[in-house]
């Protein structure tokens, strides 16, 4: 696999044509990837919280679900009105510290907010590995359409999304 372009917390990374995008150590955060089959571009945000605080939503749009989704569309040069051909991948949103007294359930709320925003834009989620109580790392290869999710103490989950994403795989 090519070198992975990693989205750190609150960051957005993108690639066109070829390349591997990923996140490391997602706890309650959600790796939110949008793929544009027409331009063969992908953009990935490492979303930390559901709704934006005003003070840094402009400097770090990838940090919040509500600002990350529009920022991903901008990165992919896709106006919201024509976003329905985009495909989404969601990974993360676990609650590692179960029964925490404050019970903010950030992971769950990150995922539900992202699902709602994507559904409003009629963007379909082609792969989702969310919730539960484990941390995750993942990589997505633009060229092959392979997504690979790792968690500690479990076999990695690997899925070929080339058909779902309309990626023509080069003959071996």
């Amino acid at each position: 696999m090519a070198e992975v372009k990693l989205a750190g917390m609150g960051e957005i990374v993108f690639a066109r044509g070829a390349g591997v995008l990923g996140c490391i150590g997602l706890g309650s955060c959600v790796g939110t990837l949008l793929f544009n089959p027409r331009s063969h571009m992908a953009a990935l945000a490492h979303v930390m919280l559901p709704e934006a605080h005003e003070h840094d939503a402009f400097t770090m749009p990838g940090k919040y679900a509500t600002t990350a989704v529009p920022a991903l569309l901008r990165t992919l040069d896709t106006p919201p009105a024509s976003a329905s051909h985009l495909k989404a991948i969601l990974i993360g949103g676990g609650e590692l510290f179960q029964n925490r007294s404050q019970a903010l359930r950030i992971g769950e709320r990150n995922v539900s907010t992202l699902r709602r925003l994507l559904s409003e834009l009629r963007i379909s989620i082609v792969f989702e590995n969310t919730h539960g109580s484990t941390g995750r790392s993942f990589e997505f290869d633009l060229e092959t359409g392979l997504v690979r999710v790792r968690a500690v103490g479990a076999t990695p989950v690997e899925k070929d999304l080339s058909a779902a994403l309309g990626i023509l795989r080069k003959a071996a």
Partner: protein, 202 residues
């Protein structure tokens, strides 16, 4: 946006870390019969770029951690993080056995780590309360074992939800007798910092 503190205030937070965790580490030494020592605490604003440098553990390596809510005059979140190998050292010392892997991590092992966190945090808070006159209460620790980075980011993100800016006082502790490193993080509610500084007269 990073929280800005002048040198004097950073030094004061570092010193509080030192005094607080000094008491906590003495308690751990008493409990285990092994001498633990502190490294110099660091005070750092938390954002996406500083998080990976917190606690020197490989991001995807297995680690064990606890989080406890602290209420009162210097409210915040207190967390302990142990790389898996270091947690095994603690288990070996305290219960003379350690789990073969994540699957074997039963309630006994969890309660050992919770108890260590309880004792250390109790002593940390006592030291701070003696110095400042603050009233501080802790809630029971919550345990998790997972990728180090996933644990750290979950701890920090919950704290970030409540506040705009976040600061961590991080202290590492070790022992010469074993290959061991433990990390303590205190994430004070930043609104409470002024209260602390005024009590200390700075």
């Amino acid at each position: 946006m990073a929280l800005t503190l002048n040198d004097l205030r950073t030094d004061a937070l570092r010193e509080i870390g030192n005094i607080g965790l000094g008491g906590a580490v003495t308690a751990l030494s008493d409990l285990t019969g092994v001498l633990f020592t502190l490294e110099a605490p660091q005070v750092l604003p938390i954002d996406a770029s500083t998080l990976p440098s917190l606690c020197c553990v490989a991001p995807e390596s297995l680690a064990v951690g606890t989080v406890s809510r602290v209420n009162g005059d210097w409210a915040g979140e207190a967390a302990f993080l142990f790389p898996w190998e270091s947690a095994c050292v603690l288990w070996q010392i305290l219960v003379q056995m350690s789990p073969s892997g994540l699957d074997a991590l039963n309630e006994l092992y969890q309660s050992v780590v919770n108890e260590v966190s309880n004792i250390m945090l109790g002593n940390y808070l006592r030291a701070i309360s003696q110095m400042t006159g603050f009233t501080l209460q802790m809630e029971p620790p919550v345990f998790a074992a997972d990728m180090a980075m996933a644990l750290l980011s979950s701890i920090v993100v919950e704290a970030l939800y409540e506040q705009r800016e976040l600061l961590a006082v991080e202290t590492a502790f070790k022992t010469a007798e074993h290959e061991f490193r433990g990390y303590f993080l205190y994430l004070p509610e930043t609104g409470n910092l002024e209260k602390l500084f005024s009590v200390l007269g700075i």
